[in-house]
Structure formats: C-alpha cells, structure tokens
C-alpha cells in the first residue's frame, strides 16, 4: 500500500518491472506501463488505423461564417463527382437530430442544438452538408463543390459583448444571449464582510479560451449491419456508454442494438467526453449507405468543433484586514458558453467553479455570481481542470494582491489563512465539504525545495543589477470524482456519477476485469491491474483489464474529472472484495472450516492457526466453476460487479512555485525553477502520478504563457491551425521538480484523491504571480494571460513614450 510517504521524492522516480516487485508491494510501485510496448512499436490501433471492407470516407462541410442564415445549399455538383457515394443535408435527416445537454440549472435557457443546420448558423463548426465517398480525398474534394448561399449576420464572441443590450441575438427564440444566471454563497453576509474589512482589493481578469489539443483529432468509424439492425461504432471517446446512450436518442437507434468502442485513444483532456454532431452523423450515414463510414477530423476541423475550455471574464474582490486575515470574497463572472450548450457545459462555470472559491483558506463569507452567455464561438465545456483552474486562478491572484495591499509576504498571508489539518472535514461557505488536507505541509515543503529565503536575497541582488527575478505561489485545491449521484442529481446532472467494475475469475485462475472508466493515455490497464493484484493476490501478469467497449462492460460513466482511480478504481476494489468473500466461503467449505476462521492473504486462504489447511484463490476459482462441491446455497462461478457511488468528492491539493526571470526589454519569461508539491492521497503508481503532474503543468504553462483561441470580430477563429495556436514545445516547458505528500482520502477504499488535472489547475497562477512579482519594481500589478512577450514587454513599459 502506498501509505508510506514518498516524501522528499524530488529525484527522478525510477521504474521497476512488474516481475521484479513482490506481490505485497505491487500497489504503490512505480512499475512500467503494460500499455507501452504496443504504443511504442506502432502496433496500437487508433480509430483512423481501422480498415474495414467496403469502408467509405466522410467529410463534413462547415460554415464560412460564424453567424449567418443558410439561404440555399446546392449539392448537385458534388453528387456528380467521382467516387462520391452520397451527399446529405439537413433536409435528408429523418431522425430527431438534436444534441442533448446533460446538466440543467434552474435558470437555464436550453436551446435546440441540431446535428445539421437547416436555417441558422451559429458558429463555424455547424455542419451544413456531409459527403460520403470511396476515398478520403474524394470526400474532401466534393465539399468544395457544394454551393452555399449565406446571409451573413453580425457575430459576437465575448460574453460581456454578448450580454450587452444591442448584441446580435444568437438564439432568437430566447430573445437574449443570457444562458443562465447562477449564484452561490451568501450575498448579504459577503457584502457586509467587504464593508467591514480594513481593505478590499479588486481585480479583473480574463481567463482565455483554450483549445484542448489532444494530438489525435477526433475520429469515428461506424459500421451498420441491416440484417440484425446492429450499429457498431468505434470512436475517440472518454466515455463509450455515455456516447451510446446519448447517440441512441439523437439518431433514434435502439441503445441495445448499438455497440460503442474506444480503440486506442490519443489523448482527450475533456474534448472526447462530449457528444458531438459528428459521431451521430457518421453513425447515421453508415445506416443510410449500409457500408462502413470513417470520419477523421482535420486539425482545423478539431479547432472549429472540439469543445473549448475556460472563457471567463471575472471581476473579483477580496476583503482583507491589516493583519492579513481574509474576511470575504466576491466574484462576478461572465462565462462564455459558445454557440450551443455542450454535453456538460452548464456545470463547468457553476458547480465546478463557484464551489471551489474557498481554495485552501478559511474564508467565512464568499459570494459568487455567474452569468452564462451564448456567443458565436465553439461551444465551451470541460477542458482539463474544467472550472477549477478558473477558480484557483482568481483566488490565488487575489490573495497575492491582498498580500501586497497589507504589505505581507505572499507565503505568510497564505499560511495565516490556511485551514489547519484538524479542521477537516471542513464545510466551506460555497457548499463543499473538504475531506482531508495538510496545506501547511505542502507549502512549507515547496518553500524549502525552492529555497525561498535565499531566493528573496538573490532577487534583491538581481534587482540591483537590473535583472528581474520573480517567484509565484499557487496553493490550489481541486475537487475530483464528482459525487454522490443523488447530490449531483439535485444539482442538475442528467446522469449518475458512479462507476462500474466487474471482476471475473476464469476457471484457470486468471482474472479479467471490466471497468466503466475509459482511459485514453492514463495507464489504466497498469494501475487497475496493480489494484487487483493487491486485492486478489493474483500475479499482475495474470490480470487483464478491459475498458472502452459497451458490449463487454456492464455500464460506465467514463474518464474525466480525475475520477478514474477514486471512482473506477474503487468499483474494482469493491468487486474484488466481493469475489474474495465468495471465494472465502468456497474455501471454507473445501477446508471444512467456518468462513469466519478463514483468513485471506496474498492469494491464499488459510484456516486461522492451521497453516497446512490452505488453498489458493486460483484453486477456489476452479472449484467455483466446476461447482461439484460448493456450499449448497451458492451459485457457481466467481465474479462480482459493483456500481460504486462515492460518498463525496475527493480534494487533492498542493503548492506549485514558479521562479522566473523576466527580460523587460523583450518581454521574455525564462523559468529558473518550477517546484510542485502535490498531495493526491495514496499513490497507486507514483511514476504515473508524476507523469500526470508533469503533463498537467505543461498545459498550465501553455495557458499562462502561450495559448489562446482567438477570434476576430466576425467570430472567425484566427488561430485555426497548429501553426497559429501555440501548443507548448519541448523547450517551452521547464524542468519540473515534483514532490508529494500523502494525505489519504477517507472517502474511498483506496485512499486516493485524483491527479489528472492538478497540474493544469495549479500552474497558471504560479507563473503569473511570478512574472508580476518580477516586474513589481516597474509598477506591474497584473498581466492578462497568455503572457506573450509582447504583453509582458508592454506591461513593463515597453512601447510607452
């Protein structure tokens, strides 16, 4: 078990081969990933690698304009082109064809979200026509031959512009672009706290729109067998069962005659959660042409359709007394939702944002208002972090500003307001109950690793030499494994957020396990096998984990929100324990003992105090399937299924520190150090944990310094390719020093908290705080992300006359 604290682990974590690890130590070992040999040799099968007999290729015509009326569309020339099998437009659709939204809010103005546009175009990704052709190139060629007549309309891209009186209305039937108006916390108490405090510090920030950028663009292969009405869909998905359920409704196909599979999936970061028009159209088209249909998004198409993240305009006010005590927090956010509601979009800027505004602090009064706005940009939904980075950013920037206001060290003000370890469980004023934490410890460890006191001296010296060094703290909290289902139902979720896990012994004593989680790069096969090897005492190599197939797995909710270990892993633990209990009864029957006297350890059942009276779980498995001699009241077989519904969220936390040098003459930001001390609870595989932290930080670095989806005034995405949208390159990301503390979560049997999003949540404000700290002598108190060289240069006075 990984409860031993791997503290001070800033050295590179060395992996071990599973064969070299004792069974008792498998949980918590940094073993190599079993996924990797096939990924490293080109044997892996991604969706676009799939070739089926008679397969056709599909391409979709999207809009030239972000906002327009579709006056006329003529596909006759395209239909005549070589290799074209069929061309379809909205008038050919014989199904309901509206994408559902999976989260409701009291004030939500839900709008129709058609899979193909009949009349009104609301963003560039809207589908106007689709072509099915024999060859990939032919399908794309034919798109150019579709003649479209548009009547262009004025577009709006920023939430505040969209909410203005004279803005063009995107969904005319609603008469407004306001999608919802939501609040949390106590308005009156917070107002009073702000009035009573010694100081109130304000800050306006834009948390820019980001494109998730899984390196594998979305893709679908659909195959329809009319003889038994079976629709087999393989696609880039983070949640095949959810896709099956939603798509069944959209294309009117019976859910039980539909199979959705995730082949190898090349990253997701949220973008492959949502149900898009694309997979519905590919599946529908496969039924029309009665041949397999493949669609592979181009990168530009991905940029025009993959749900984007963030998109907040926020005004924040923090009340702080002269002694550094934080008295209250007020946050007013206008959230960009894009043209339509995406699958979970109403939940992101509300329950996944406002509820995290207490951060790591005891703040008695918090009030948050969020107005959602429809605009002509790509729909906005969950992207790695999803609401929590936005919350963490505004708090951690405001806390820094508060420290400046009362002339206090940024680390000291944090310590002064931290929750203490004995405050847990702690209920915040914004409806969360934190499970456990030791925030002082992660901050202190980070300060030690970065050499804080020594840094301040160096900073002083450097300033005298005309060099600008800065340090930035980010003490973040994250909420993962959103749960329990009953609660999320009350909050508006259209789904339960449990997970299923099936553990099945074969008669020969090996194990196949099915998880409703659906990994796409996280190494689930490895970690889940580690969990089961530990629970069942079976060799790691004798366990096969199956994910991503609705035919094989009972049900599933999928992988997002850093939930797979906490929820999916726990489901497998519970099933393994049920299996062991059944096996214990069989073993007791075989050993002629009372089940209560039979102990289980490392795969062996043994009568207490009688070491010679024992049997292995493998032998028991054979007995369970032979069923020649099992207890009378027992069914044969050895398997168990669990639908695990957690009792609460889990709350990972940590401190990230960035140390930068800024050149005010060029605006260049260079990392001198980056330290991350994270507490994600128990660690199943520390090397995988480290990789998640690294990757998360890189995306946070991207948001802080480079990335942003930019639209012109007409709603045209002008960062439409990887040449224009700056995904961080190898030399953009600093060498990261990662350490961890371990505060197990009491909420689940593994004591895990979740790690997928931590780095992305933590990094941006660490970097922005560091750059602002560096330029403090030049009077800089805020710079909007991304901190491009030009923005930094301007903030530092460049270009001033």
């Amino acid at each position: 078990m990984a409860t031993d604290e791997r503290e001070g682990g800033s050295d590179r974590i060395e992996t071990v081969e599973a064969d070299d690890v004792d069974a008792a130590d498998i949980l918590g070992s940094a073993i190599e990933r079993q996924e990797d040999p096939s990924l490293l040799t080109g044997e892996a099968e991604y969706t676009d690698d799939i070739q089926l007999p008679e397969m056709t290729h599909m391409a979709m015509l999207r809009s030239q304009y972000a906002h327009a009326r579709l006056a006329d569309i003529d596909t006759s020339e395209a239909e005549e082109m070589e290799g074209v099998v069929a061309v379809f437009t909205a008038e050919d659709l014989d199904v309901s064809g509206a994408l559902p939204v999976g989260w409701d809010l009291d004030s939500l103005r839900n709008v129709d979200n058609p899979i193909m546009v009949e009349d009104r175009i609301r963003y560039q990704g809207d589908v106007l026509a689709l072509v099915v052709a024999e060859e990939r190139y032919q399908a794309h060629d034919a798109l150019d031959a579709v003649d479209v007549e548009y009547e262009r309309l004025e577009a709006v891209t920023d939430p505040s512009d969209a909410l203005a009186e004279d803005a063009p209305v995107i969904h005319e039937e609603e008469g407004t672009n306001e999608a919802f108006d939501w609040d949390i916390g106590d308005a009156d108490d917070t107002e009073a706290a702000l009035e009573a405090a010694d100081n109130v510090v304000e800050l306006d920030v834009t948390n820019q729109l980001l494109i998730p950028n899984a390196i594998e663009p979305r893709a679908v292969v659909a195959d329809y067998d009319p003889s038994d009405d079976l629709l087999d869909v393989q696609m880039t998905t983070q949640n095949p069962h959810v896709h099956r359920l939603l798509m069944a409704g959209v294309i009117d196909h019976p859910e039980h005659r539909m199979r959705v599979r995730a082949p190898d999936v090349g990253g997701g970061f949220g973008s492959k959660i949502h149900h898009y028009a694309d997979e519905a159209l590919v599946s529908w088209a496969a039924k029309q042409v009665e041949r397999p249909v493949k669609w592979q998004a181009t990168r530009t198409e991905s940029y025009l359709t993959d749900a984007q993240g963030r998109g907040h305009e926020t005004h924040g006010e923090i009340a702080v007394d002269d002694d550094g005590t934080i008295r209250g927090l007020y946050v007013d956010t206008k959230a960009n939702l894009g043209a339509y509601l995406s699958t979970f979009s109403p939940s992101i800027p509300t329950y996944l944002y406002g509820t995290l505004l207490s951060g790591q602090y005891e703040i008695d009064n918090i009030y948050c208002e969020v107005t959602g706005a429809y605009t002509n940009v790509v729909p906005v939904d969950a992207y790695r972090g999803a609401g929590r980075p936005e919350a963490s950013f505004i708090i951690e920037r405001l806390v820094n500003r508060a420290a400046d206001a009362v002339d206090m060290d940024p680390a000291e003000i944090r310590k002064k307001n931290f929750l203490d370890p004995d405050d847990f469980p702690y209920e915040t004023p914004v409806a969360m109950e934190y499970d456990s934490g030791d925030y002082h410890k992660t901050l202190e460890r980070a300060m030690e690793a970065v050499g804080y006191d020594e840094f301040r001296e160096r900073q002083e010296q450097a300033r005298e030499e005309g060099r600008y060094l800065g340090i930035g703290f980010s003490c973040y909290i994250e909420a993962c494994g959103i749960a329990p289902s009953e609660l999320v139902g009350e909050l508006g979720a259209g789904a339960g957020l449990w997970e299923s896990g099936l553990v099945r012994f074969t008669p020969s004593g090996t194990v196949r396990a099915m998880s409703g989680s659906s990994g796409h790069g996280q190494g689930h096969d490895t970690t889940f096998s580690q969990i089961l090897a530990n629970e069942l005492g079976v060799d790691y190599d004798d366990i096969e984990v199956v994910e991503g197939d609705t035919d094989a797995i009972p049900q599933g909710m999928g992988t997002y929100g850093s939930r797979s270990a906490a929820v999916g892993g726990s489901a497998l633990v519970e099933s393994a324990r049920k299996v062991v209990e059944k096996a214990r009864k069989i073993a007791a029957h075989q050993l002629e003992a009372d089940p209560e006297d039979v102990e289980f350890e490392a795969g062996e059942f043994q009568v207490a105090g009688a070491p010679d009276r024992s049997t292995s779980i493998q032998d028991v498995s054979l007995e369970a399937y032979l069923a020649h001699d099992i207890p009378d009241d027992m069914e044969p077989g050895l398997e168990a299924t669990t639908f695990y519904d957690p009792s609460n969220f889990v709350f990972p936390f940590g401190t990230h520190v960035a140390v930068v040098e800024v050149d005010p003459d060029t605006g260049e930001v260079a990392f001198e150090d980056y330290v991350a001390v994270d507490d994600v609870g128990n660690q199943i595989n520390p090397k995988i944990v480290e990789g998640q932290i690294h990757g998360g930080i890189a995306q946070g670095v991207g948001q802080a310094l480079f990335e942003g989806a930019e639209y012109d005034d007409n709603g045209q995405l002008v960062t439409g390719s990887m040449q224009d949208y700056a995904v961080p390159k190898s030399f953009h990301v600093p060498e990261m020093e990662t350490e961890s503390t371990v505060t197990p979560s009491p909420e689940n049997p593994l004591g895990v908290k979740g790690v997928g999003e931590a780095g992305t949540i933590a990094a941006p404000q660490a970097i922005v705080n560091a750059v602002v700290d560096a330029l403090e002598p030049l009077g800089v108190d805020h710079i909007e992300m991304p901190l491009t060289n030009e923005r930094v240069w301007r903030a530092a006075g460049g270009g001033d006359d």
Binding site: Q64, Y65, L143, D144, A145, R152, T300, Y303, L304, E710, D712, D713, N714, Q716, L717, V718, T719, G720, S721, Q723, D724
Partner: protein, 200 residues
C-alpha cells in the same frame, strides 16, 4: 483587418495617376492573379457567363491607348465590376468571384466596396484612395478594411497579412511601372500628358 499605406510615384502627375487608376484594364493587369475584370449590371453577376465573354486579349492601356478610350471605359461612380481573382494563401489557391461597387469617385478621391467568394473562403472589403501632389510626383494614400472568412481566415494574420501586403505591393509596383512608361512616353512624344490634362 485594416491596411493602409502611401505609395509615392515619381515623375508623374495626379491627373495621370488618376487616369491610370481609373482604367479597369490597367487595374486588371496590375492585380496579381486577376483573370478578368469587367463591368457588370448588378451585384450578383453570372461569373460563368462573364468568364466566357471576357476578351481573350486586353485592349491597350496607357501609353498606347488614347486618353479618350480610357475615359470611355473608366470606372463610374455607382458602377459594379466583376473580377475573378486567384490568390494563393498558404497551401491553397482559391479563386474568388469578386464584385466591387464604386461608391465614390471624385478626383482625387475614390472609394470602393466589394465582396469575394471562393468555395471555402470569402472576404468583404472596403477601400479607398486619395491622390496628392508631392515634390517629386504623386503620393497615393490608400486604405483598406477587409474581413476574411472561412478557410483562409483560419490561417490567421500570420498568413493573411503577408498575402495582403504582397497583393498590394505588386499592384502598386505594376501601376508605378506602367506610369513610368506613361511618363517616358509623355516626355518623348510630349502629347499624352497634355491630352490627359485636357480631360480634367
């Protein structure tokens, strides 16, 4: 997107430049990638028919053409003109079916607005110019405001700005070259400049 600039053309007069920039044939020749440029009746011409009827060879321009011929075919305020423009942008070379309306034309100022559309991209633009005498000749002050849509727009300003600069640069280079020819011709014959002047 907004662009503007001033182009200086030496050794010429505002009247000559005005006449040259009033000549659809010369404009067509100066515009890189312009397949044809003809007057049309409304803002929604049939480009296939126009392409079929466009003359194979351009009539002569200055200095060979007479000033009167040019005055005859010169842009007219309120007139619509259709052009087929092939412009390479990055890896694509869309052909834009473009219609321009002359919104104002009064010496020394001209203002035009138009739209162009290709299979996967389109643009809308408004542009103008004003001529002013300079010490050595003529300054052409020009500005353009363009909105770009579709595939070309997605390439961003990284691609579009150089393309716009290339088109504008080549256009004025060509205009300047032709006007130099006019000047040279005027100096040798002594006749054209006075004939041009007489038209104003």
């Amino acid at each position: 997107m907004e662009f503007s600039g001033t182009v200086s053309i030496d050794g010429t007069t505002t009247e000559e430049v005005w006449l040259a920039l009033s000549d659809p044939v010369m404009i067509k020749q100066a515009l890189p990638g312009c397949q044809f440029l003809v007057e049309c009746e409304d803002e929604d011409p049939d480009f296939d028919a126009l392409a079929a009827s466009a003359p194979e060879e351009d009539p002569p321009t200055l200095p060979e053409a007479s000033a009167e011929d040019i005055a005859e075919r010169a842009f007219e305020e309120g007139g619509h003109y259709a052009a087929l423009m092939e412009i390479s942008v990055g890896s694509v070379s869309p052909s834009f079916e473009t219609v321009v309306t002359i919104e104002e034309r009064e010496f020394p100022r001209m203002h035009a607005a138009g739209e162009g559309s290709a299979s996967s991209s389109s643009f809308e633009m408004s542009s103008g110019m004003e001529l002013a005498e300079s010490e050595d000749g003529v300054d052409v002050e020009w500005w353009a405001e363009a909105d770009v849509f579709g595939r070309v727009a997605q390439m961003g300003q990284r691609v579009i700005n150089p393309v716009a600069n290339r088109v504008v640069g080549r256009f004025f280079d060509q205009v300047e070259k032709q006007l130099q020819d006019v000047s040279t011709d005027s100096e040798s014959s002594g006749g054209l400049r006075s004939r041009v002047s007489s038209l104003f």
